[in-house]
């Protein structure tokens, strides 16, 4: 069976890692004791852990692999950059050797490699995408849906984007900033921050930079966290009461209902025609109230595989445009890949 796509990911908690190992051990073997998992996982080389079959509403089917890079959850940190890059590269090589036509990079893999995709091992016939365009599309859809459900007018909103200069943050800014009253941009790199603000102003956007989360003007009533927050309370103390907050960082660390904010998980989509994982690790990784949910970055590769467009759709950093976001959104929708319902309906406190 041809390998249409491969998804490269890793687990963001020891609980999830334990659950994956338990599935691999099967029902005849007792689970590995929790305290043993951190001793075992770091030694596992990147490799496929399951086969995936995805169905399109148009009747097409795509076959793929989920490849775990086995980055230990406690090493998702810049001091392990070299080691983690090595793991992602090895996972990419594995995908190529398996003949995957398109490879989507999930979670931290995408963050690590988004500026270095050209340095991945590539065999003829394998292309890589960060998947960030569809992630942005699903974030935007989620914000729109939340606004509608809360009776808010997007045009009157002040939108704060945390992690604004990253691939997802800048893509979300380009899509949403022209549609709100004012945008506040936060990121660690001031040079890139001012550059993005200048770019948006050229489009007529009222864009301000907010380099310090501790001194926000407290007027932001819509927030996109495109970067994981070291101190969620710092953000939540500085935004308008009842603000809508899209937690799209990785790993997600804002809890629903935090300090009166209406927090929801952004960037998740659903394959409405269904998908099958063998062995079924999906059930232990996605504890969603609806089935067939995946992160947008992974769904981008799937959507492109179903479409038969094996191309590096999202590459580089800061190159995502509103047009490209709309394009991938249309492709995904054509195959029945939409915003996950739970994104808006279940996560609101």
């Amino acid at each position: 069976m041809p390998t249409d796509f491969a998804l490269i990911g890793h687990q963001e908690s020891w609980r999830a890692a334990s659950d994956v190992l338990a599935v691999l051990r099967g029902p005849d073997h007792p689970p590995i004791p929790d305290e043993e998992v951190p001793e075992i996982l770091p030694w596992i080389p990147p490799r496929a852990v399951c086969h995936i079959e995805v169905r399109s509403v148009l009747g097409a089917t795509a076959h793929g692999l989920y490849i775990d890079s086995f980055i230990p959850p406690d090493r998702l940190d810049s001091c392990f950059l070299r080691e983690n890059l090595g793991r992602v590269r090895e996972a990419a090589a594995y995908a190529s050797m398996e003949g995957a036509k398109i490879v989507s990079l999930g979670g931290f893999s995408s963050i690590l490699i988004e500026g270095n995709l050209d340095r991945l091992f590539e065999r003829t016939g394998t292309v890589f995408t960060t998947g960030n365009s569809l992630t942005v599309a699903l974030i935007v859809q989620g914000m729109e849906k939340m606004c509608a459900s809360q009776g808010r007018d997007l045009r009157l909103a002040t939108l704060l984007i945390v992690g604004a200069t990253g691939d997802v943050g800048s893509g979300a800014a380009r899509c949403l900033a022209p549609r709100v009253k004012r945008v506040l941009l936060h990121a660690r790199n001031p040079e890139r921050l001012y550059k993005l603000a200048a770019e948006l102003r050229l489009e007529g956007v009222i864009a301000d930079v907010a380099p310090d989360l501790g001194h926000l003007p407290a007027c932001a009533d819509m927030v996109i966290c495109a970067a994981s927050l070291a101190s969620p309370s710092l953000l939540l103390d500085g935004i308008a009461p009842g603000a809508i907050v899209c937690d799209a960082g990785y790993p997600k660390n804002l809890s629903p209902g935090s300090r009166g904010a209406r927090v929801f998980s952004g960037g998740l989509g659903q394959v409405t025609a269904g998908m099958t994982f063998e062995p079924d690790i999906h059930r232990v990784l996605y504890h969603q109230p609806v089935p067939d949910v995946l992160h947008g970055c992974l769904l981008e590769g799937i959507a492109l595989a179903l479409e038969g467009r094996f191309e590096p759709f999202s590459q580089g950093r800061g190159l995502i445009t509103a047009q490209r976001v709309q394009e991938i959104e249309t492709i995904a929708a054509r195959h029945g890949i939409h915003l996950a319902p739970s994104t808006c309906e279940k996560a609101i406190n």
């Binding site: 051990r25 080389p45 496929a48 062995p279």
Partner: protein
């Protein structure tokens, strides 16, 4: 071949070697015993080889492994440590028995899989880790023997790759059957807690809890060994998701 096991806490040791002397004695004992198992295995293999070149290869490997055993014993002698070996000790005996079953079946490929893929993976990976922390020339000896073990695997790997190409499914089933026996035994040897302390190589308490004293852990030795094993199976062309499930199912 090296695997850490047990040593009697009251063994007499030169006082100058300190508390870690017991640990190094056991490390060397396991290494010597593993090498002697390899000597026996290659000697047995020579008996079922049909070509003169194959016989010569097997005997050469046996000689080489004997040299490794002597080198490890010499490291003990340098430090005044007696290095006992016991190829009849529980786990080693089981590994030898698995190999002999392949000999009885005159299954040359089965023999290579056990010795070159499974036992050598554990030897190379654990020797490399030990080399990083072992004192003085002992570290150098472990390092150089790890390299030698790794080097002589190449020829066997090309034979095994050719064999798999003939019938991948049959080959993979054979590897799995051997994995269940051999790798389960190796995993048990390196399990973190050997509560019964019944490895039968040494009469006393397990030294595994002492490993952190010298910057090692049994988990590290086990992890490095299984990683090496997985990569060796990858190099043979076995599907990675299948071999991962095999390894995930080993006892911990």
């Amino acid at each position: 071949m090296e695997l850490v096991s047990c040593v009697h806490p009251s063994s007499t040791m030169p006082a100058s070697l300190g508390v870690n002397a017991l640990l190094w004695q056991d490390v060397l004992s396991q290494a010597v015993t593993g090498e002697m198992i390899a000597v026996l295995n290659y000697s047995s293999l020579a008996e079922i080889c049909t070509g003169q070149e194959e016989v010569a290869d097997a005997l050469e490997h046996a000689d080489s492994e004997r040299g490794h055993a002597a080198a490890f014993a010499a490291e003990g002698a340098k430090r005044g440590i007696d290095v006992p070996s016991n190829v009849g000790a529980k786990y080693w005996k089981r590994l030898r028995a698995a190999f002999l079953r392949q000999i009885e079946a005159r299954d040359f490929i089965g023999c290579l899989i056990i010795q070159e893929v499974m036992l050598e993976s554990f030897a190379v990976a654990s020797y490399k880790r030990i080399a990083q922390v072992a004192p003085g020339t002992m570290g150098t000896t472990f390092a150089s023997i790890a390299i030698e073990e790794e080097d002589h695997i190449d020829h066997a790997m090309s034979i095994l790759r050719a064999e798999r190409a003939l019938d991948p499914q049959r080959f993979d089933e054979k590897v799995y059957a051997l994995h269940l026996e051999v790798m389960t035994t190796l995993a048990q040897m390196l399990a973190r807690d050997d509560k019964d302390c019944n490895c039968e190589l040494c009469p006393g308490g397990c030294v595994k809890p002492m490993l952190p004293n010298v910057g090692l852990t049994s988990s590290e030795l086990r992890g490095a060994s299984l990683q090496h094993y997985l990569r060796t199976l990858d190099a043979l062309g076995l599907p990675g998701e299948m071999t991962l499930a095999w390894v995930a199912q080993l006892p911990v």
